[in-house]
Symmetry: D2
Subunit: 395 residues, 4 copies
């Protein structure tokens, strides 16, 4: 057994097999991928990485396996799945994930599967230890029973770890959750997981923690601006031949920032703006409830028509006499809180958390308010755009 | 300046005047009054007292005064009001407060005013330092402007301190709130206080923290059983001449437990049950939504008719052949969340938090679910009573 | 399995047997015995009790048993020994222990053995579960192998728990130790315990933590004054027939304070002084290095001659025209740091920590400086005594 | 006033001037310089940067200025000095500092002065606000009175911040210190700073914390190996024309890692080894007490004769048939604990801490044991070298 000291969980014990996985170049790359992407531009301490988060997820998966008294093989597999669940992340985590999703239709889980199954150092280690790589990848990417629920579900080890870790490293107080209680009230129910009644408050606290972390950290407007700049610079880098989208998922934060720095023109300027934290400003913002439903549908529709999205940006830039690339639309997905499907065991009956918790019901409703549509541009031009009639561009 | 080391706020600095107040017998009594009353029977570490909580409240009042740049005299007064706001608490804090309210119609603020204004060591110290006792008592007991809001309002120093302190000493994770952000976003608005927009999430977190602490700690069913036993034993002690209600508010936890121990019969038995943690059990429980409205009104009406309340308890005991005093009704007040009236400053306009926060709106609604009506009795008799038709007793 | 929420360790799981032990009147009494005795008069939050500390010790014993992969029976026994190790404590913990030691020559371990072995609720529960009470008492009171080392030794669960707990509840920063690392580097060595090399720094940190906690908390001069007052009041209470020393070890903090309050004369006055925190002051103090060796030996010798000790106090009082009982000598034992005998495993060899750590060697030396001899009296008389020539009284 | 949320100090308030300084490219560069250099290869969470540490130092300087009631201008200056004290750090903080010191004889303070005084965005901002840059740089680099003591001395804001921050982000427990007590017991004494007697334990705890952090974190053997590899790769990069030493101090972690990656041969290999964490191993190690004094002097002498140092490395490589660059000598400076000169105010007299604290005296002595001389090489060759007679190479 080897030990790694973690800032959240203290001593984390690892088997030799797990340590071999950590020692691969594929896994070591995660050391150079910030867990919270561009959030460090808002919270200066948010420099923690996918590397330590993955180790934390393994640790929690082990604790849950112990709690559920899983057989040795399942325990081994779910820990490996936990440590590998983020192996497919690219530079700045969700920042590049959004791009890979837009352009290649890939999630980080898809990429993880690819790394685990296909000829990699990791697949070799698994096979050498008599583990079928497909078994692990199935736990990560398919909804295949309680093991996969531990990795990805309404209260998986992913979010148990990241809420606490993100709070610790940003200094934001809202991510504190009751890990002990959450883990100790989990039960296997059929082929899935459920929380027994004694854990209901802990689950509510988890959901509220996430609910409060979303606007404060995960969707902070400054980091959304930085993301929009990152998206555009990467797109232009691809257009101008500096980069191939397919390569993105193998890169780390160092690669992409360096690519920006060593480019020319627009891409280089955005790189420098990252280096010097000279970000665009919000010129125009409308919340979920401020936009007419039809208009909103058109806006969200642009997420599936990137060409038109770009055209509108360019058109606005031209209309306002701003250089191309310096007007950006920010169109987030509608926020969804997966946790809503949590099953509760009450009086030996399985019931849904939204039946048991009015608080959870309202979170479901309220989450929409966390969506907003924004236009970003240079500080000096922001005011001019603020009166834009966006509808005319959407036709 | 003197320093006291507090488990929550670290070094707390006190002026000589404040230290003189602390050094009075009236204030030292708070050392022997548990902050959370009978909660120590659920959370063994919940032994913290009104003494350290009062010092914490003073510390926070000082921080807020600094933030609001209050003039020296107001700063001095609000700190003194904060340290004295709980001087009127009796044994086990809210446990005796409920009794004083039922029988004498007194709140702990009423009693505090009495101690501060009338001839006490505290009033003498205030006068010696040129402070009108009535000025302090007005801040505590009247809604007289922003100073009184700091002491008692939707987000006063009382609950800022107790949420964090109760979490620290019980080990429950939900009381963590963002004190820094709450204090740093407070503003004076007219003659009242408001939170500016940047503090909205911190306020939501405060409200949710309290919302989660209520069932987990403040209304935990075990401590409600202990409270019901405490109420009855004290009532019987008064009836049997061991005690005078008027004396209760000068007593501490040691006095009352000792009085129980040195009594006879029922009171002695309850005292021993406290010592040995042999509590009654819940025989019957109905939540807010499980009781017909008319019945509920009758039940809650009993709070103003203690005689009838007692008669019903005795009647049930008789019907089930249980000794008098061993069937107890628990009829809590409908829960209210004062914080609902918090004012938010948004775009330089004053608005209500329930306009800005759907989460807060639902808390308001949901709090009702935290109410329940219960009947407690001895373990061996609990099952027999569980089928009781309570309506017939209410007529 | 039942769960108790602890302020330090979070969820602590207990077997039914362990819960039965907790539910005895003997164990419940620990709820009313402050862990740190009179320290609450210095650190207002220091109200935690032997009850939660005992549960914490059980929890740590379980973690160590898991780490050492002890067989089930040994694991069960060491956890029970841990939860019972303080069952013999009397009012204010070490305050009454000092008295029981002076007058009856009993340690709290002696009393614990008595409770465990002889006819008590606890011995009955043990026997009913097929456990020989003597087996448990031997682990607590004899140096009988590695199980007893877990309970009482250089780095036992007692001090692992109390350092962290006392820091948490006083607000003093020095008690933070690395529980994870301490537990994870323990090994069985022969019939004893040792720490492997990787834990050396964690052990040094433990020793330093304790070293810093001693003057800051455990031997704080104010709480030593309160202790001296407690000793004298109890002695007088015995002399005057209010109390029997043998009864002391069955009492709790409520009993003794109430006994003081309901006495007359001197004992009542001291009781009131506790209630109002009007403590004696230090009139005279000399450190270890300030007293001539021969004189020091005579002073320490008084610990075995209480009669002479009392005579000297009375003589000084008379000489300075002070009422009897209001001049007190404080003669502590020479401080000892048991941890000095910790065994370290280095390159598969057993070696002593003082060979490996110069820091530990010096702590051993330095601890003497924590000893001092003091005379306490009323504030108004303190100055007059400060010039006393103590030697003349010692002849 | 603007606010930054810090993981250690919570809300940190900044004046517009301070925010302007932060907004310069020179300061933003600190976001990309790891506080603990190569330590992230040991403690995966150690990704915090000089950026947040500098903001933390400013915050503490402000608290100390408030405590000492410094006049406005001094308060302003010492906060600016604090935020700028690390502006001269290069890639991986101390890793590049060692190289700049070896080759150019520059400390990071020298470089800071250069940046502050000479024509930079920072000097311009200072001048625009009527602040003489030389005033600030003098506080940072000269021993010019109590302001400079706040920045750099035995208990400066630098180490107060980094001990706590490094503990928080590595997960190591030893860095916990009592910031409150340290700050609240500081006093101006002549033109310097001193701690009053009440802070003695807090100072001892600070010194011990640092003492324990040195082997556990700051001189962890794995990060020393990584440093040695970094030194050699950078030296070779200079030799081969990829890099100029003078440029190093303007670079960040991204620049240097990217330079390694885009080089060829040895430098590229070391770059990849960093990426994949394939570090050299210790082939030979001798502690301070294991080496003859004469030999030790020769070894330490090599620090001033880098040419000979390199020659010996190459000679050993040749003798053992290892490729050039793959045998590295690690020759640290003798550890020094500056804190030893802390002044204590006792009974209104100034005295040295080593007079008052035997613990501190021994730390001074013991620190030597933290020095060791090591030879690192590839894993497969380590064993062969372990028997080397190093003396023969030193002649």
């Amino acid at each position: 057994m080897k030990v790694i000291r973690d800032s959240i969980h203290g001593d984390v014990f690892l088997t030799d097999l797990e340590f071999d996985i950590i020692d691969t170049p594929e896994f070591q790359r995660l050391r150079r991928i910030k867990q919270l992407g561009t959030t460090y531009l808002v919270y200066p301490s948010a420099n923690h990485t996918r590397f330590e988060h993955s180790i934390g997820a393994l640790h929690l998966a082990g604790r849950i396996a112990d709690r559920l008294m899983l057989p040795d093989e399942e325990r081994r597999n779910v820990r490996i799945a936990a440590i590998l669940h983020d192996i497919g992340h690219g530079p700045l985590s969700h920042s590049s994930e959004e791009l890979l999703s837009r352009y290649l239709g890939l999630s980080h889980e898809n990429i993880a599967v690819d790394i685990i199954i296909n000829d990699s150092n990791i697949s070799k280690i698994l096979e050498k230890n008599g583990i079928e790589p497909a078994t692990i990848s199935r736990i990560i990417s398919e909804d295949s029973g309680y093991l996969s629920k531990i990795i990805s579900s309404e209260f998986d080890v992913d979010r148990m770890d990241y809420l606490v870790r993100d709070a610790h490293h940003t200094g934001v107080a809202y991510g504190i959750i009751d890990l002990d209680r959450l883990i100790n009230t989990l039960e296997i129910s059929g082929n899935s997981l459920a929380v027994n009644e004694r854990g209901l408050k802990a689950v509510e606290a988890l959901l509220v923690a996430r609910f409060l972390m979303i606007p404060t950290v995960y969707l902070h407007h400054t980091s959304r601006i930085a993301d929009a700049m990152f998206f555009k610079a990467t797109e232009v880098a691809v257009e101008e031949g500096y980069l191939d989208f397919c390569a993105l998922c193998k890169m780390d934060d160092y690669d992409i920032l360096n690519l920006f720095r060593s480019s020319r023109g627009y891409v280089k300027d955005i790189g420098r703006r990252f280096d010097e934290r000279r970000l665009f400003k919000t010129a125009y913002t409308r919340s979920w409830y401020e936009i007419d439903k039809k208009v909103k549908n058109r806006i969200i529709g642009l997420r599936k028509n990137i060409k038109k999205w770009n055209t509108i940006e360019d058109q606005i830039a031209e209309d306002y006499n701003i250089e191309k690339g310096y007007v950006l639309l920010d169109i987030p997905q509608a926020v969804s809180l997966k946790e809503m499907d949590i099953k509760i065991i009450k009086d030996n009956q399985l019931t849904g958390i939204d039946r048991e918790s009015p608080l959870v019901r309202i979170l479901k409703e309220t989450q929409k308010a966390q969506w907003s549509f924004n236009i970003y541009t240079l500080k000096e031009d922001a005011k001019r755009i603020s009166g834009i009639e966006i509808e005319s561009y959407l036709l």
